[in-house]
């Protein structure tokens, strides 16, 4: 369930009955408890560093201290979730190369590291005393007042000379103690509001310094986009490797096996039982070969590499159980484009055969104005929904990597048309021998 932000929670009528005050209290007291040791560590580190800087060992220590913001920032971003449901991802990037040096270098160059350091110093010197003060006023004070009857009882009852809850006034009897307690509860209910407001303001400050800025979000997005493109490329390469391994390995060996069996059949007595056995084995080997050939074609059709998209799409059309008209006139395009378009055609034709009830389909493809435009349409019943089929979603994802788009129009009653557009430039002609 998506929680309200602290500001929104404060405006709600049932604020004090919800979890928001508890979370605000946890956030503020947590800050107070963390800040004190943080100040200690920082002060100790700074003192040691300065003291040792005369013997040069201190300088690296001081440099390390500058990175103290990184873990504090990470912790504070986690704590931020208590009062701020909006995500606060790390503003840091992942180093491109492994190793501590690369990490250190990247962190030192990032603006976010210095913002985190600023936050850490602020927290150690200003924020945690403030947290403590707010927690004392809004939580400890009402608590002490509410606890007046218990306080009185522990101090020996009304005859013990009375107590001063929170050192405010003298309470000598249980009626007064109970009155104080009621006052404490009332005070708590009122003070939860300033507590929430403080927690929200504190969280806003933390977010300002610790959450990624626009440019950092953009950088991360660009990084993710690049890594997705790399994944697709790696996936393609893997397909091709599997295809090659099967072609060079299993397929060749099976052909050799089939040939050996064929020769053995020539040598066997045609009337004998051996000939029949060999014939069975031979037929089996040939069936496996045929299956393997289909499998390999499905993984990565070599015709796509050798002849390009038109021939490969024609081949896909040849295999469609629904008759397909093709009108494809294209130059050779970059490999990822041809591959994505080919698998799109195959998926589209498979959908035509499976769902559309069409009697005819058509594939049309042209390259113009720096864009490949390919359309697969059928005369079926329509109603194809890209959101339902994972096949179409996968296609759209794959095209997105190439900055391509997939449009599906499929009104109920048909017809269905699937159009993909990929911006690309033609491949330079191969140096043909």
């Amino acid at each position: 369930m998506q929680r309200d932000s602290m500001w929104a929670a404060l405006r709600r009528r049932d604020y004090v009955r919800g979890t928001a005050p508890w979370r605000a209290a946890a956030y503020v007291t947590g800050g107070a408890f963390l800040g004190a040791p943080l100040l200690g560590v920082l002060a100790a580190g700074l003192a040691t560093g300065v003291a040792l800087s005369v013997v040069a060992v201190g300088l690296p220590l001081l440099a390390l201290l500058a990175l103290a913001g990184v873990p504090v920032g990470a912790l504070e971003r986690r704590r931020l979730r208590l009062v701020d449901p909006a995500p606060a991802p790390t503003p840091h990037r992942s180093p491109a190369t492994p190793g501590l040096t690369a990490w250190l270098r990247l962190r030192a160059r990032e603006q976010a590291t210095w913002r985190e350091l600023a936050y850490t110093v602020l927290m150690a010197f200003v924020l945690w005393p403030l947290d403590l003060a707010v927690a004392a006023c809004t939580l400890a004070l009402p608590f002490l007042l509410t606890a007046a009857p218990a306080h009185l009882a522990l101090a020996g009852g009304p005859d013990g000379g009375g107590v001063r809850p929170a050192k405010l006034w003298l309470v000598e009897g249980y009626p007064a103690a109970c009155g104080t307690a009621v006052l404490g509860v009332a005070l708590l209910l009122v003070l939860l509001y300033p507590l929430g407001a403080y927690a929200a303001a504190r969280a806003a400050l933390a977010r300002l310094l610790l959450a990624p800025r626009e440019a950092e979000v953009q950088a991360r997005l660009a990084e993710v986009t690049r890594s997705r493109a790399r994944l697709v490329t790696a996936f393609e390469a893997e397909r091709r490797r599997i295809e090659r391994d099967l072609h060079d390995g299993a397929q060749q060996r099976l052909v050799a096996l089939s040939m050996t069996l064929g020769l053995a059949r020539l040598d066997a007595d045609p009337e004998g039982p051996l000939a029949a056995r060999l014939a069975t084995a031979h037929a089996e080997a040939d069936a496996v070969l045929a299956e393997l050939r289909e499998l390999i074609r499905g993984i990565h059709p070599q015709v796509l590499a050798d002849y390009g998209l038109p021939a490969a799409a024609e081949d896909a059309a040849d295999r469609s159980p629904v008759p397909v008209d093709t009108d494809i006139d294209l130059p050779r395009l970059p490999e990822p484009v041809e591959s994505a378009a080919y698998f799109a055609v195959r998926e589209a034709l498979a959908n035509v055969a499976r769902h559309s009830g069409a009697t005819r389909a058509a594939v049309h493809a042209r390259y113009a104005d720096g864009t490949l435009r390919l359309t697969v349409r059928d005369d079926g019943t329509g109603g194809a929904d890209p959101a339902r089929g994972t096949g179409l979603t996968g296609l759209a994802d794959r095209l997105a990597v190439l900055d391509g788009t997939l449009t599906v129009t499929s009104p109920p009653g048909g017809p269905t048309a699937l159009t993909l557009e990929i911006p690309c430039s033609p491949r330079p002609p191969d140096p043909v021998a």
Binding site: M259, G262, H282, R293, P301, Q302, A305, E314, D318, A433
Partner: protein, 221 residues
């Protein structure tokens, strides 16, 4: 170069898998053909052809160094250099583009495009080899099946038997071979072929070879 009608052939063989290469040498040798050179890549194939002047070339499609279609490229280049040199291409691909490009070399005579699977059917393979060596045209049944699937509409007019005959014609079989395959008389086959050609508006041609090419050209159109 005019192919000799029958008898043992002098062959240059290109196949990158050692296992298969040895197997093919064995099979061809067993049927009396002489393998002058068995090589493992396309450049060596062209050199060997220049050196040995073989009667027939048998080559794989996909070979080093690029593992693309170097073998086919070499076959096409050889056909351009030496018109009429019979070339039998062994392939793992059913896609018609490969066979089509090969058939377009020269007048389409003396070429064969077979799936490697056929090598196991030793006698059929040697039969195809011989037909190519004699200047015939051989196309793998699986590729023909694909072509037939493609041209659906006009083929609907054929009877099932006629379609059967058509696919055998497209594979490059003679009337006699078709008659043997279907266990009918040669005259019956001749009648079927006449009907098919009439229904598809193809010219009646004498000679198996011209007829095969006409049918293939029709199917590929």
């Amino acid at each position: 170069m005019q192919p000799a009608p029958t008898g043992p052939r002098r062959v240059v063989l290109a196949e990158d898998s050692v296992l298969l290469r040895e197997g093919l040498v064995g099979v061809l040798g067993r049927f009396g053909h002489e393998v002058l050179a068995a090589v493992g890549d396309a450049d060596a194939l062209r050199e060997a052809v220049a050196t040995y002047e073989p009667d027939v070339v048998v080559t794989d499609v996909r070979m080093p160094p690029g593992f693309q279609d170097e073998g086919l490229r070499a076959a096409i280049a050889l056909r351009a250099e030496r018109p009429g040199l019979p070339v039998l291409v062994l392939s793992q691909y059913v896609q018609r583009s490969y066979a089509a490009e090969l058939l377009d070399t020269g007048d389409g005579g003396g070429v064969g495009y077979l799936l490697k699977d056929r090598v196991g059917q030793v006698e059929q393979f040697v039969d195809a080899f011989t037909r190519v060596a004699e200047g015939g045209t051989v196309v793998d049944p699986e590729v023909v099946r694909q072509l037939l699937r493609r041209r659906r509409d006009p083929l609907e007019r054929l009877t099932p038997r006629e379609r059967e005959v058509l696919s055998l014609v497209a594979e490059g079989r003679s009337n006699a071979a078709i008659a043997a395959e279907l266990v009918v008389t040669e005259a019956a086959v001749g009648k079927h072929v006449g009907n098919i050609l009439a229904k598809l508006d193809l010219p009646l041609t004498e000679g198996t070879h011209r007829r095969v090419l006409a049918v293939l050209a029709y199917l590929r159109a």
